[in-house]
């Protein structure tokens, strides 16, 4: 299967700091590819390269097998790469449907009478939210009234509705409680079933392992391998993420059981 997005041997340096070194990474349609790594492993840099915020210093990006250069996040977006950053680009004081269509408002009428088609916006928002599994009472209620998990769901629904082929989720579960996080995992599963390639960035193995199809382990800017779920255990991932030895030292501390 041709990956929907592919990074080949990407290197990214900031001055003398090497943030990424020879990283290759790809996502196929209808799969969840988890990007795992501890703080400072290069996860953020990698997604910024994927989403067009940074340009790689060396190496190539391919969309559907063709070489491409993202000059800006807009280029990436137009190529079907939607990134849901941690701030979600949501306005808490604005309604759900206005947030859903922000910057891409449907209009009716012509010329001076061209106006925001609120009814259409409300209807689509409600349908798309139900499709992802959130039953909203009123698309006119403020986004601030939604829970953290529901906001993630809204961001995912918005990205998929506007034709994303690749969905990059930056730590979507990190600030959430157990129940909310499992809801978000369900939204991710829905997006995968729609044939979208999902890049799921996290450092929480308990969230990544149940949903992931493949796992890429980053450490200090280099790729420590990409594995299918059947080829790697939860414990092994955890060990690599922690840098191999840190956990062992922790075990030796009296009174701590890992």
């Amino acid at each position: 299967m041709v990956p929907v997005i592919e990074l080949a041997n990407v290197r990214k340096t900031f001055g003398s700091v090497v943030a990424l070194q020879g990283v290759s990474f790809d996502v196929c349609p209808g799969e969840v590819h988890c990007l795992l790594g501890d703080n400072g492993a290069g996860k953020s840099t990698l997604i910024k390269v994927l989403s067009g915020v940074h340009q790689p210093s060396a190496g190539t990006i391919r969309i559907d097998g063709k070489d491409i250069l993202f000059k800006s996040p807009r280029d990436a977006y137009q190529a079907g790469v939607a990134t849901v950053f941690q701030d979600l680009a949501m306005l808490p004081l604005m309604s759900i449907s206005r947030n859903f269509f922000l910057g891409r408002e449907p209009t009716k009428g012509r010329g001076l009478l061209r106006r925001f088609d609120a009814r259409h916006a409300d209807q689509v928002t409600r349908e798309e939210m139900v499709r992802i599994g959130i039953d909203i009472r009123d698309p006119g209620q403020a986004v601030g009234t939604l829970s953290g998990g529901e906001r993630q769901g809204l961001a995912i629904a918005r990205a998929t509705y506007f034709g994303a082929k690749v969905l990059i989720l930056d730590e979507p579960t990190s600030a959430l409680g157990v129940h909310q996080a499992s809801m978000v995992l369900k939204y991710i599963a829905k997006a995968r079933n729609d044939g979208i390639g999902v890049v799921f960035i996290t450092h929480n193995i308990n969230h990544a392992y149940p949903i992931g199809d493949r796992f890429t382990l980053l450490n200090r800017g280099t790729n420590h391998g990409t594995y299918r779920k059947s080829d790697i255990s939860r414990e092994e991932i955890l060990r690599v993420m922690a840098g191999g030895e840190d956990l062992d030292t922790l075990v030796e501390t009296p009174g701590v059981v890992v």
Binding site: F85, L91, L93, L102, F116, R137, T145, S147
Partner: protein
Amino acid sequence: MSATSAEPAKGIHIKKKGIGSDSKRLAKQSTFARIMHRPESGAVSGLLFVYVFFLLFANGSGMFGADGMLNIFKVSAELGILAVSVSLLMIAGEFDLSVGSMIALSGLMIGVGVTKLGLSLPVAVMMAFVLSLLIGAFNGYLVVRTKLPSFIVTLATMFILRGVAVAVTRLLTGKTQISYVVNEFNQDSWVVSIFSGHLFGGLFQYLAEHGVITMRPDGLASVPGIPVSILWWVLVTALATWVLLRTRLGNWIFATGGDANAARNMGVPVDKVKILLFMFSALMATLFATVQVLESGSADTMRGIQKEFEAIIAAVIGGCLLTGGYGSAVGSLFGALIFGTVQVGMFYTGIDTDWFKVFLGLMVLMAVLFNDYIRKMATSSR
């Protein structure tokens, strides 16, 4: 130590949460609560309070006669024209402190145009409108480019514009006031009637002749009609409300003030929105100035002082948050009406008008606290 179970944990019984969403366990909001959550609800209740107060204490003083009411509406209309543009700007997260100076400058542009450059009144008014749009665009451009708070940038232009207005006027005329801007040659111009005329004069005369409203000794009605400025006020407010609630631009205005960065990420042209709104506030300042100049017939460098603050007060009472992203255009209409009612009402009740500013300050405090409360209600996870 808390009670620790001796048995191994197994199959702890818990109540399942609703599937998918927590919103199911919530009752439907009542209509009353929905109305109370509108940004302008504070201003409407404030207005009701003010009217109850004056009905109790000023009834029979003539305040609620045709004369008094028209006075209230006239004062409110002029402030309201400014407040509506300031509201939009505040919703987009910016301030314009230069509107007061803009009023003086625009008035003087009309005055200089007519008396010194020999322009006809329509051309002079047109020139003032065009120049004000340029100045507004400059304000906006400065804010967008420097990324400084607009509070500081427009504080600077407030002094610059006032200074230019005074200096140039004195240079050209030797005085700080220009009289006879409206004179015997141009007083019948159509510009005079669309900016300072009266509507329904015949109707008011008819009402006076039939004793519905009072008549002056000379046989004319006590009020000549409804000042056109009131029509301008209602029109501009209606237009702004429509734009805010029913167009893409309105959505962008809210988003720009709510979180400019998020809005930019979603493709909203944040800078253009801001510049456009600064142009609108300069334009409304000029509308205010035109009404004033054509009504009084003269222009003065002292015009419009403190109007920028009065407009902000009306906008805040109308439900705008100082931090942007929330507010209402129609709310500013109610805010201006409270302002006008109290100002005129104090005159009729015989309360020393020195207390007016004390009242204003208290109103602002109350409005800010109320807005804060409404915002918390609107965004709390219900």
